[in-house]
Symmetry: C2
Subunit: 559 residues, 2 copies
């Protein structure tokens, strides 16, 4: 693995790698047709090609590569805006990406003496020209569910060209280009002449991080965003608060974190939140915050009086509290103001409103709640009370022109959902059936159930995550298209900054390829080889991704 | 957890903590009687005691603590050699430990202005005096199986006294002292007046690290040695080579690592090995290297021709190789020279010779081996051939005046073992029966079977490791005493520098307390509280120990 496999790679890289065929469906509009590219695929010149595609992850939709290699000189090679691009040096998102990918490609080698000359025998690649085709490149915008992440990448002497509609596709193409450049045994940087056309199979490819069960320092979150970009994930589902703690510092309700965070050290200030959002944006990653109610809210009650339901022990309040109290107007006054803040702090069009695992015991114990149930004619069906509450929250959030994501129970309990609601399927038991029901009802769905990465087990469990076929549920083609993606979830009961990165990567990478690459990319042996190399590359880039199995990397973690 | 639990601690710390009674057996000679200590256990003065013992790990054999607190001034407090000690400023092992524990106790606070005065109301502890009682303190020696690790620690105004026979006990007592000092909410360093008498229940308390399946950089090994000292472990079982790679750089046979290591980066030079041994010695930790033969030796064959058995496919050599070839004299010539080097490089009295999981398939395929079996009259019992081989290796190692440890199969296959052989029981299936058989035959045993920490699972698995009672096997009292300890094993198939520390700690801490503390220390709730605090302390000291469950530490890992 890593550099030392170069020789084995040589034997494999003799000829063209068979192109992976275009997948049949994008799920959100067809991709533009593949352009005509006159690329001379030379044979017989230069050294044999190392199989750079042995480390591509996730595998592009279409890849043609030649044995002809081009050399890159660190002190001459440039990432530049190409002719006709709607983006230029004023495009911060690309400028930042150029600097970042230069560093990933060349690492310390940029410090080589500029006087050094490369052997003239070699063909040289001198530039990567990035061309954004859309009149509005998106440099100052946020990625959206409907953003285009497609790109064309042609690598041929003397320049490579990366074309994309929007900057988001360019970011994905830069990652792919950086994965194609490899160092040979003599320290030269080489890339094979190649043509790549690529786009994601699913539009929503998320990682869930939980900052309530354990606080994650900002650095852990940013490191994870780096890793997400290396794996072409595009959504950070930030499960920011829960029963255990409330680290989100609210401007309207500062007592929520003053009282509800683990300590004054364990909060995300408005500046922290902005930093996460901007760091994510620069990597083409949406940040969807989850403020889960009415359950999972014990920590909310510490800083906000009269928000949670008082539980009763017979005739008397027991002193403990249950879910959000759905019967008081003050609850909705609070939520109206709270979600106004959230809608403005988080730029994404979606907010995750939770709605999972609501225990009815406390509601059932409370006489006022029981009276309310009678008034409303809910009988003894507390799912109706839950839906009553959720419905009001959905309406509040809608009034701020936000869409929402919810856990599957909200759908199961028959709340009235807007057509663009995204229902997240998390229950492992018969999730295919649930996907079928959700899409049958015409809602978009994302799948999380088989990808709860907090459930660890001995051995190569990445294969289990990799082998999931998300569209394998009963339903029409139209239903299948309503499944817009999935999420790898790392719940935080047993995870904090000490173990987050190696527990998440490269196990989440398996989900990353499943959600990006064509459905026919399923070969475990090939995936093992590429993923092993990809994990070594993540290590080099500062991500402490754990090993898949025995072996080594040329550049190990420092320990 | 951590500082923020101080208030809860106050409520618990009102009075004396019940002393944990002395355990009945040391397993290797009785401890000296507890000294008479005139300690005035004052009541009613000063602030209420925080329950510093809430973070002690492993729990001492005997602990009496008072509510009376003493304050430590970082710019005045000293760790010194006490009157009558056989050790003095020339004792490097203690000088090094004094500096180290000063740092652990006060951290950055030592930089406080020396002009600062503490409130005169407070009683002050100005010194910890360390007194080594034995005429030969052991400053320049290596810890041994028979070393005394017992210590007395009395903390009373104005000085604390730590008495131990040898430096090894002093090291354990320094760790305990450092665990008793705590910071209050105002940043003052406090310690309760206390009397502790402590000694290990088992003499062999080991951690197995595997540097063959993955190479571990030196820094990882050293960090782990720090963590071992924090948990009073005293043996690093260094499973240094195996099938996958041979990172040990031999002086006599440099080709073994030149060809058998993963790469030239992935070796331990003689300097590295000396550094590990010295770093361990300074922490009272023995380093027992394992050179496992005749199985698990694929990597040996790369740099040493004609060492492994050629396997046959019918009449023809198949090109692959099996275990060490036991029929050639050259094998034993090599081993004689190799173990001469190992015996001299590693100072410990024991070498682990492996002997586990020998597959007979290759031996059975080889016609020369079959002929040899006939000559020797072994019939078709290849276990006899294995024993024949092992016997010769044991004799070679004995000739260098070394003792040996072996995996249980060597005993099971009836090799002739020296009386001081340590048999390591690793097979999970009915290990109690195996312990019974080994000790019945009069051999000393150590237990690893229930503590294979590489087998991860979801949840609080530390409880499973903690709840093992090693002496719970059929046998006489005499047999029970032959069980001299255990090892937590972190095999390396899925572990490298990226995940070693959080995977090992604090899960191994559970094994640490089981092997150190009295057998009646079994309360899971109390252990949870102490271990949570202990893991936060490890974090502060730079060990990225993972969380036990939800919660936080005052000082989190930086991410």
């Amino acid at each position: 693995m890593g550099r030392a496999m170069g020789l084995a790679g040589l034997l494999l890289g003799l000829l063209l790698v068979p192109a992976v065929l275009l997948s049949t469906s994008l799920g959100r509009g067809d991709p533009p047709p593949e352009p005509e590219l006159g690329l001379g695929l030379g044979l017989g010149e230069g050294p044999l090609a190392a199989a750079a595609e042995d480390s591509l992850w996730p595998l592009p939709q279409s890849l043609r590569t030649s044995r002809r290699q081009l050399q890159l000189a660190p002190d001459r090679f440039q990432l530049v805006h190409g002719a006709g691009s709607s983006a230029g040096p004023g495009c911060g998102i690309l400028q930042d990406a150029f600097r970042r990918y230069y560093e990933y490609i060349f690492g310390q080698s940029r410090w080589r003496s500029p006087g050094r000359r490369w052997p003239s025998l070699r063909r040289e690649l001198s530039q990567l020209q990035v061309v954004i085709a859309a009149p509005e490149p998106g440099c100052d915008s946020y990625p959206r569910l409907a953003s285009s992440e497609a790109y064309y990448l042609t690598i041929a002497e003397p320049v490579a060209v990366l074309k994309a509609d929007e900057v988001w596709g360019a970011l994905r193409g830069l990652e792919t280009f950086s994965q194609l450049v490899h160092e040979d045994d003599y320290g030269s940087f080489l890339v094979n002449e190649s043509v790549i056309y690529d786009f994601p199979r699913f539009a929503h490819r998320g990682i869930l991080l939980d900052t309530s069960r354990h606080y994650l320092p900002l650095k852990s979150i940013l490191t994870n965003l780096d890793a997400m970009a290396f794996n072409k994930f595009n959504v950070l589902h930030w499960h920011i608060v829960d029963d255990q703690s409330f680290p989100y510092q609210s401007m309207y309700f500062p007592e929520l974190s003053n009282k509800g965070a683990y300590s004054y050290n364990h909060i995300y200030t408005p500046t922290d939140v902005r930093l996460v959002i901007e760091y994510a944006r620069l990597r083409g990653i949406r940040v969807i915050p989850e403020f889960d109610t009415p359950g999972h809210t014990q920590s909310w009650g510490k800083g906000q009086k009269d928000l949670l339901t008082p539980c009763y022990n017979g005739e008397q309040p027991s002193g403990s509290f249950g879910p959000i109290n759905p019967i008081w107007n003050s609850t909705y006054d609070f939520m109206t103001k709270f979600f106004k803040e959230i809608s403005s702090v988080f730029p994404d069009a979606y907010i995750h409103l939770g709605g999972d695992e609501v225990s009815f015991d406390c509601w059932k114990s409370n006489p006022d709640v029981k009276d309310f149930m009678k008034e409303q004619g809910f009988g003894i069906d507390y799912a109706k009370l839950e839906s009553y509450y959720i419905q009001k929250i959905l309406d509040i959030v809608s009034s701020y022109n936000k869409g929402y994501m919810v856990w599957q129970e909200v759908f199961d309990n028959k709340a009235q959902l807007k057509p663009d609601t995204v229902v997240e399927v998390w229950m492992a038991n018969n999730y295919a059936h649930e996907l079928s029901s959700v899409t049958q009802a015409g809602f978009t769905a994302i799948l999380a159930a088989p990808w709860y990465l907090d459930y660890i087990s001995y051995g190569q469990d990445w294969k289990k995550y990799y082998s999931v076929e998300p569209r394998n549920f009963p339903g029409s083609e139209k239903q299948k298209k309503l499944l817009i993606g999935g999420e790898a979830c790392l719940w935080g009961e047993f995870v904090d900054a000490t173990n987050l990165t190696p527990r998440l990567w490269p196990r989440a990478s398996a989900v990353g390829e499943r959600l990006w690459s064509s459905s026919n990319v399923t070969d475990l042996q090939d995936a093992y080889k590429r993923l092993s190399n990809h994990r070594c590359r993540m290590l080099r880039r500062g991500i402490a991704a754990e090993p898949l199995f025995v072996g080594y990397c040329a550049h190990e973690a420092r320990g």
